[in-house]
């Protein structure tokens, strides 16, 4: 059989495996098998590509494959689950730079008379470059190497506009004018501008909005691969890239909806820098009512339904294992225990679910806000652990609040709310929370892990 037919049939098979793998990600029961399907699709695509007759030298390929596998292996096995956002962020960047390099390699060895080919290279390098530096900045912000504060400066829109215009001019030179500057210079200039745009695109965005940014960059890394598919005229790159692109865009959309903000608002408003102005109204809402862990235990012991609302603070305090233990003791005590997880809890989509799964919390007790809000009145105790903005009633009641309109977990409608909190400092977005002053709210001050451990030992005593 002709080798190109075999190659193309294998690419079809690989595409089917990717698609089947994603479909099986529709349920936690089949998800792991789905991942195996998807990875065998990748293995097939790579192996069949190695048969290509145009390959003259396998030494560099083998070296890079081995080196990349070692790095990938250690990254995957050593990473802590709390650091998953950083890992996904940097991997988005690697995907971007890989596609950028493929595009560049084709450019330096290609011909310059086909606008479709050159256009595809332009798009690949541009998206790949933005993804690469944007992801590095996102990684820096997530790992707190760079300040998570939104960074705004005068004339920002003007600078960005100028940059986009320059990129379009370079693109025009690349495709049509040719000779104005040399091909190498054009590529270098495009690289520099794409890298700069990536940095300027992410740097103004605050740490609280990083979940949206990494979802978007996830999408970009797929689109870069897709564009590279048009450069080398390869269908499997286009199919896989488009699937990733769609995935990232859907997650971006879910995150934006969960915050009741448009994507443009997330990207350009420097949210958090302007948040303090409108929060005075919530300053004088009465006194907070602290409660000791011993008294909290008595209330929990009498509760027949408990809803735990975890936020990223829970992971910071490494309290998830103690929380799971408390949940089991409550269940043994006859209470129904559920975990309500807001889409933007944690630092990336689904982050909180992974942290709880790691702590052996069964996935069928993890519920979404829409599942619990209608029955909130029947909940005896809501325990808010390290969450803040996602339970802020201002989102429903206070039109002047910057988070007004954001869907929240309406814990204030339950019978009793416990808020586990280190101090009265405001949340990630820097907004006051009137929940703390509600008559049915009790504050459990202190380190979340210690507080929960105290509750656990009370139950065991």
């Amino acid at each position: 059989m002709d080798i190109t037919i075999l190659v193309n049939l294998s690419y079809i098979a690989a595409s089917i495996l990717f698609i089947a793998g994603l479909k099986m990600l529709g349920s936690p029961d089949t998800a792991r098998r789905g991942n195996a399907f998807s990875s065998s699709g990748m293995l097939l695509a790579v192996l069949i590509t190695l048969l290509d007759q145009n390959i003259v030298d396998y030494r560099y390929i083998a070296g890079a494959l081995i080196a990349g596998s070692i790095v990938g292996y250690f990254a995957a096995t050593k990473v802590k689950m709390t650091s998953m956002p950083e890992m996904v962020a940097i991997f988005n960047g690697f995907g971007g730079i890989a596609s950028l390099l493929v595009g560049s390699a084709e450019y330096v060895s290609g011909t310059f008379d086909n606008p479709a080919f050159l256009g595809a290279i332009f798009v690949t390098v541009l998206i790949g470059g933005i993804t690469f530096t944007g992801s590095i900045v996102a990684y820096g912000k997530l790992s707190e190497i760079i300040s998570g504060r939104p960074f705004l400066y005068k004339g920002q829109q003007f600078v960005n506009g100028l940059l986009v215009l320059s990129i379009l001019l370079v693109g025009a030179n690349m495709l049509y004018i040719q000779g104005f500057i040399s091909a190498e210079q054009t590529l270098m200039l495009l690289l520099a501008l794409a890298f700069l745009l990536g940095i300027l695109f992410v740097i103004p965005i605050g740490g609280a909005d990083m979940p949206v940014v990494i979802a978007l960059l996830n999408s970009f890394s797929g689109l870069a691969a897709c564009a590279a598919g048009f450069v080398i005229l390869n269908n499997v790159l286009i199919v896989a890239g488009a699937l990733v692109g769609a995935s990232g865009l859907i997650l971006t959309n879910i995150m934006c909806k969960a915050m009741n903000r448009s994507l443009a608002n997330v990207l350009f408003s420097g949210f958090g820098a302007v948040a303090d102005a409108s929060s005075e109204s919530s300053q004088e809402q009465g006194e907070v009512k602290p409660i000791t862990a011993q008294d909290a235990y008595l209330i929990l012991e009498a509760a027949s339904s408990v809803l735990i609302v975890p936020g990223y603070g829970m992971a910071v305090a490494q309290a998830q294992h103690a929380v799971r233990e408390l949940g089991e003791l409550l269940e043994a005590n006859g209470a129904e225990v559920k975990y309500a997880i807001h889409p933007v809890a944690g630092r990336m989509p689904g982050h909180m679910n992974v942290l709880l799964a790691e702590a052996n919390v069964s996935y069928d007790v993890l519920v979404e806000p829409d599942d619990v809000n209608p029955i909130m009145e029947t909940v005896d105790v809501c325990m808010v652990i390290g969450a803040n903005d996602v339970v802020n009633p201002d989102a429903k009641d206070n039109e002047s609040s910057p988070i007004y309109g954001m869907p929240i977990i309406e814990v204030d409608n339950s019978k009793t709310v416990f808020v586990l909190k280190r101090s009265m400092a405001s949340g990630f977005a820097g907004i006051q929370n009137p929940l703390f002053f509600k008559p049915n709210t009790r504050m459990l001050f202190g380190d979340a892990k210690e507080t929960v451990s105290t509750l656990v030992s009370e139950f065991k005593a």
Partner: protein, 92 residues
């Protein structure tokens, strides 16, 4: 050439629609593994990278080899960490 590009655009459009249909059915519990799995899939650019890396011109080889390295990190790291995470999701 033109007809090939048109065919590829056709594939692109269908893939996007398929992707949207598939991904909207992924429950929010699995969104983090979805993203790390997507990282791995975006490493498909490895296919292009291998072809560049196997070229005979030194510049192309250099760029291609670097691309193979980065894409392999994505593929291997992405699938392994996704598998590790999905192994944690258990029902009692």
């Amino acid at each position: 050439m033109e007809s090939q590009i048109i065919l590829l655009i056709f594939i692109l459009v269908l893939s996007i629609f398929l992707g949207v249909e598939l991904i909207t059915k992924v429950p929010s519990t699995l969104h983090t593994p979805l993203m790390s799995g997507a990282n791995a899939i975006s490493g498909i650019t490895l296919v292009g990278a291998i072809l560049s890396s196997g070229s005979s011109e030194i510049v192309t080889i250099t760029l291609g080899t670097a691309a193979v390295f980065f894409a392999t990190i994505n593929v291997v790291g992405g699938y392994l960490v996704t598998n590790r995470m999905l192994g944690m999701f258990k029902k009692k």
